[in-house]
Symmetry: C2
Subunit: 203 residues, 2 copies
């Protein structure tokens, strides 16, 4: 057996291969690309990874991503403070923002209810949610969880949890293909599903 | 206009988006993944990038990748030193190795002739090639460039350049789909194209 000649390259491929959605072929292609980059570009990449991890945190109010204590959306006086859109992940917040159809506030759950994965309500950012709705004078809560089993279970839980809190609880219209995830939806579909939102019906 | 709230995240997405084959959606997904990773895993990724770039170099003999002066293949006494396989890139060398069908030596060109891109023979590692073939007692040179216009042009150039050097000059069989690149071929196709290699015919 000849010696392993490129352990550093193998390690780089392995680490790149750990990233979401990167198969072995992509990991290899990316590793070679990283090797061939100009030195300054590689350092910029490394610094970008470190800096983003150091600086990005969750907004104290909504749980979205920010580099401040409270994010720009929560602090924006032009937003409609009577509307609250609940999303699973910070990425989903960004997807909704990009439709340009929503001018209210957000609440990020950091997940969805999934009994199979052992994720229950206590694992989500829901503790202060009811209080936020009541004290914040929210008149409509738009549940923008994914159009899959976990997203549906989460929307039903939220509907019950917010009963009597004084707000309508609506859900994104199923303009999304069933089983689809918000993160991968095109903007037009997402905008449609937002304008066609409906009351959550438990019956 | 609200303040840009996540410049570090934007920078990370931008740097990841510079990588080969990563579109904007993938860059975003990867950036969030990098944010969510455990701290130690992120440091391992960063170190892997730096270490690979510091340690990996080109083999003095064949131009393949190695962390030594001369790579393990060139130093392996079990390899057939009368066979020389010429590839465009270090990745292609690895693809050929993986077929398990080849036991000779390699020569990496670091590119292919491409008049449209302004790449001529003087931009490739060909200077010492003829000398290597003559002095090394090579009896067959297998040109394993890509099955596209640049690869064909390069094979014709090499055929002429090696005239009278005492070696047969052969070319991988077109088991590869036309226009296809070695890097993305499956191993079976690549192995077939290796066993069916033929003389380069200029007529």
């Amino acid at each position: 057996v000849p010696r392993n000649d490129t352990p550093s390259l193998d390690a780089l491929k392995r680490e790149i291969g750990r990233l979401a959605g990167i198969g072995p072929k992509s990991a290899e292609r990316l590793a070679y690309h990283v090797l061939r980059m100009p030195a300054d570009q590689a350092e910029v990449l490394v610094s970008a990874i470190r800096r983003a991890r150091e600086r990005i945190r969750h907004c104290r109010e909504c749980g979205g991503l920010t580099e401040a204590e409270v994010c720009a959306i929560c602090e924006d006086p032009a937003r409609d403070r009577s509307l609250l859109c609940i999303v699973e992940k910070p990425q989903d917040l960004l997807s909704i923002e990009r439709t340009g159809e929503y001018r209210g506030l957000y609440h990020v759950l950091m997940g969805a209810i999934s009994p199979l994965d052992g994720v229950g309500p206590s694992d989500l950012r829901v503790e202060s949610l009811r209080e936020r709705v009541v004290k914040g004078g929210i008149r409509e809560v738009i549940v923008a969880t994914n159009a899959n089993v976990e997203g549906e279970a989460t929307s039903l839980y939220l509907k019950k949890m917010l009963e009597g809190a004084g707000a309508r609880v609506t859900r994104l219209a199923h303009g999304l293909p069933l089983g689809g995830e918000l993160e991968f939806a095109d903007l037009a579909t997402l905008a449609l599903s937002l304008s066609g939102r409906r009351e959550i019906d438990e019956s």
